[in-house]
Symmetry: C2
Subunit: 211 residues, 2 copies
């Protein structure tokens, strides 16, 4: 009995997913030097079959990055509108970023991006996507900082400077997580330390600085 | 009149210094792809003359790194023994690191190291020197943190964790300074923000976290 068109479609989708999954681990292991031959071998399919699904390695890579970096504008919007004080929402945002660095899966995804950026092998379309998403993260952070300064939960000062210092620190933490995931996981739970970057001075300290 | 041996010595030293200075700007511009030919051209001397002072590019590079990363053990020791509270000495240490990133000269030196590390072109001897110096910095920081926790100036918690988070943040700041020195300089003066990573909670906040 011949297969129905629906069954064929399911098989194609499963095949495609399998190639992407294999590619993810090959890229994580070999970086941008991975070839489509490596990916086909990992997926235990022929090279010819791999080419029926993707035109080249770059197409596979682009698809992976799109899966990894979902369009999160809705997520940021939800965060801004969440109940709780601005300081609490800021804590949620930073904790989720720091926490994600300690988990295996988002970390591998990050490793993938890191490889691509370092190898200057990032397709333009993907580079734009990432840039947009990063800008959205910074804008969300900035908005919560400004609101948090109004409630007194966030230290006063130029919000752009606070955003810049925090994002540099998050960058440093990410690089640490990529370099030594085991060590990072031992330390990671404490996003509270990172959040102190936004913390207003104690009254005692304020007095001693003014004196 | 023939030149005296002293005069010859002076000329040789000036020549050597000129080669090193030229090499510094060539390495800063071209990274580890710079050749000894580039360096000779920059110094406006012949290639043959350059080779009379240095066996190869690596020898020039090693010398530059040694100049850049002085043996600072005495400096760290002095800092630990400085008058003032541990919190104040910690502030001096962190401010001097953050401040240095905003200055052109130490930044160029850092750029040099960064190039070499990325290109895996760091001679073993220099790699060890850098590793030692970095460990000494971390040990100094750790000691001041422990002392600062005893005086209540530094937030309680695992000192190794505090050292790790601070050094990740400093790493992120350094990368930012290397990527965009102009933007960094606009923001740099505020080491106070970075120092908040060590700041104890306000009494108010402490109370709300315990509730």
């Amino acid at each position: 009995m011949p297969r129905t068109p629906e069954a064929n479609q399911r098989i194609r989708e499963a095949q495609r997913a399998k190639i992407l999954e294999s590619a993810r681990s090959v890229f994580a292991r070999k970086g941008m030097e991975a070839t489509i031959t490596d990916i086909a071998a990992e997926a235990q399919i022929s090279l010819g079959l791999a080419y029926r699904y993707f035109a080249d390695k770059e197409a596979i890579f682009s698809e992976l990055v799109k899966q990894t970096v979902p369009d999160d504008s809705a997520g940021f919007q939800k965060l801004v509108e969440m109940p709780g004080t601005p300081g609490e929402r800021l804590a949620t945002l930073i904790s989720s970023i720091v926490g994600a660095r300690g988990q295996r899966e988002p970390l591998e995804a990050h490793q993938l991006l890191h490889h691509a950026l370092n190898a200057n092998a990032m397709p333009e379309e993907i580079r734009e996507l990432l840039g947009k998403r990063y800008q959205m993260l910074l804008a969300t952070m900035r908005q919560l900082i400004v609101e948090g300064q109004a409630t007194g939960e966030v230290a006063p000062g130029d919000p752009d400077q606070l955003v810049a210092v925090m994002s540099a620190c998050l960058d440093g933490l990410t690089r640490w997580a990529l370099r030594d995931p085991e060590q990072f996981r031992t330390y990671v739970p404490d996003a509270q330390i990172v959040l102190r970057l936004f913390q207003p001075l104690t009254d005692e300290k304020k007095a001693s600085e003014q004196s």
